[in-house]
């Protein structure tokens, strides 16, 4: 029984790929699936920080592909969730250290042991991107409601289609609903209009300050019951398992709005 290899990519930097990988991975493992996270951003590793596992790194992905250690030795068990492991990137090398063929081979090995292999793709469209997507079955494109993120996402979808990773999922991240309603931000329809109907929206995640806090603490926000972004990720995890979950209504919420409703000043 073979696991599924999913690459999380975007083109644009800073839209939330690593956050998505950490949270989807944590969520899937918490739901009982054996999951491994692979940091393919070699030279600029972040996934270990977001997971809070940076102090536990002994070997990394480059050590594995260069034969200095066995894959098993490089995998780090998550400190919170059973069934979740991390294969960290190297911080001292760069993206040329791993080739697409080596990545493909690695994914083959990993999928034999895990239900889900989630790969954190670096920003850009160069060698690092091609390596990260080499072993994947499915792609998740992360983007924001912002013109340059959208332009890059379109480019990435084109490159994914050329690599036969057709019908990618889309996660729209860092949504500020107040801005969308004022017309200061694109809305999700503008995105799907450009990206096309074959790109299915897997989730919409509101901009949430607690994400920064959770990153600094190394605690993925999907575990936080009070966070709306956490809720969005929990929904995404359910959808990845085949469940139909309604999209969150991002227009609600906010303490002021709730108070206003309480005193009858808002609907």
């Amino acid at each position: 029984m073979s696991g599924q290899v999913i690459v999380v990519t975007s083109g644009k930097g800073g839209v939330g790929k690593t956050t998505v990988v950490a949270n989807i991975g944590t969520g899937l493992a918490a739901a009982g699936h054996k999951t491994v996270l692979v940091d393919a951003d070699i030279g600029l590793r972040n996934l270990d920080l977001i997971m809070g596992l940076e102090n536990r790194i002994v070997y990394d992905i480059v050590d594995v592909v260069e034969g200095r250690c066995e894959l098993k030795k490089a995998l780090i068990r998550d400190k919170r969730v059973e069934g979740l492991q991390l294969l960290p990137a190297s911080q001292t090398r760069d993206k040329t250290a791993v080739s697409p063929e080596q990545m493909k081979e690695l994914c083959q090995q990993l999928r034999e042991e895990f239900d889900f292999v989630i790969i954190d793709c670096p920003a850009g469209i160069e060698h690092g991107f091609h390596t990260a997507v080499a072993g994947a079955d499915k792609a998740i494109v992360v983007s924001m409601l912002e013109v340059s993120a959208l332009r890059d996402a379109d480019k990435i979808v084109g490159l994914l289609e050329a690599s036969e990773l057709t019908d990618p999922y889309l996660i729209v991240n860092r949504i500020r609903m107040d801005m969308v309603q004022r017309g200061d931000m694109l809305d999700v329809n503008d995105m799907t209009d450009i990206l096309g109907l074959q790109v299915k929206v897997l989730g919409i995640v509101p901009d949430d300050q607690s994400i920064i806090v959770s990153a600094n603490r190394g605690e993925p926000i999907v575990l936080d019951n009070r966070s709306r972004a956490g809720q969005a990720f929990r929904n995404i995890v359910r959808r990845l398992q085949g469940e139909e979950v309604e999209f969150m209504d991002l227009s609600q919420g906010g303490l002021m709005l709730r108070l206003k409703r309480l005193v009858g000043l808002a609907k």
Partner: protein, 220 residues
């Protein structure tokens, strides 16, 4: 073009004859004969694609012209006529002589059956038809016309090898930049109107103009 005037141009596909026949076809044919004799040998053994500015061209006129051309070793391959309006089929043939059909000077056309995404580029020396959108960041460069059966939001360059008669047509013409032959045009910076009907861009009096596209009148 004045009545009775004609001009020849060499193209990749042969000789292009542009002329305005006028009411007296025989007179035109004679003038054509004279002109060909002066250019003796220069234009022989070629196909000729004729484009007449007349709204209608009679079958006899075509036969006459065909004969005159044949005398100089030129074979009339296709004929186009067109009304003053410059909708796409200025080149659509509307004659009853069996020898013609709708043609375009750049006969080769490529059909692209999907949306062009950011960073993708098509470069073709004939016409390009896209059955899909052209997203911002995508480029279509064509020697002939460009037709987008969708939203053109990227860059389109028609007549890229010098054909100033080339046009760009789209269901939704909202390009980042439009080029025809050696002219460049861009959308105004201010948020203008965004018409929800097909439009056509062409060169008129040296500049690119955009007009509503309407289907050509049918064959007579």
């Amino acid at each position: 073009m004045d009545q009775g005037s004609m001009e020849f141009r060499g193209t990749r596909q042969g000789v292009l004859l542009r002329a305005h026949i006028g009411p007296d076809a025989r007179r035109f044919a004679d003038a054509l004969k004279e002109r060909l004799q002066k250019a003796k040998g220069f234009l022989s053994d070629s196909y000729v694609s004729a484009r007449f500015e007349d709204d209608e061209v009679s079958v006899e006129a075509v036969r006459l012209i065909e004969a005159v051309l044949a005398e100089s070793g030129l074979q009339l391959r296709s004929v186009a006529t067109g009304a003053k309006s410059v909708d796409l089929p200025k080149r659509a043939a509307v004659t009853q002589s069996g020898l013609t059909d709708a043609y375009s000077e750049n006969e080769a056309s490529v059909l692209i059956k999907r949306t062009l995404r950011s960073g993708q580029r098509v470069d073709f020396d004939g016409n390009v038809v896209v059955l899909g959108d052209v997203n911002p960041g995508a480029e279509v460069v064509a020697g002939g016309d460009i037709v987008v059966m969708g939203s053109l939001r990227g860059l389109a360059h028609a007549g890229a090898y010098g054909d100033a008669d080339a046009v760009v047509v789209a269901f939704r013409l909202r390009p980042t930049q439009l080029r025809i032959a050696d002219r460049i045009s861009r959308s105004p910076d201010a948020e203008g109107t965004d018409p929800a009907f097909p439009e056509l861009a062409r060169i008129s009096k040296g500049a690119i103009v955009i007009e509503a596209f309407s289907a050509p009148a049918g064959n007579r």
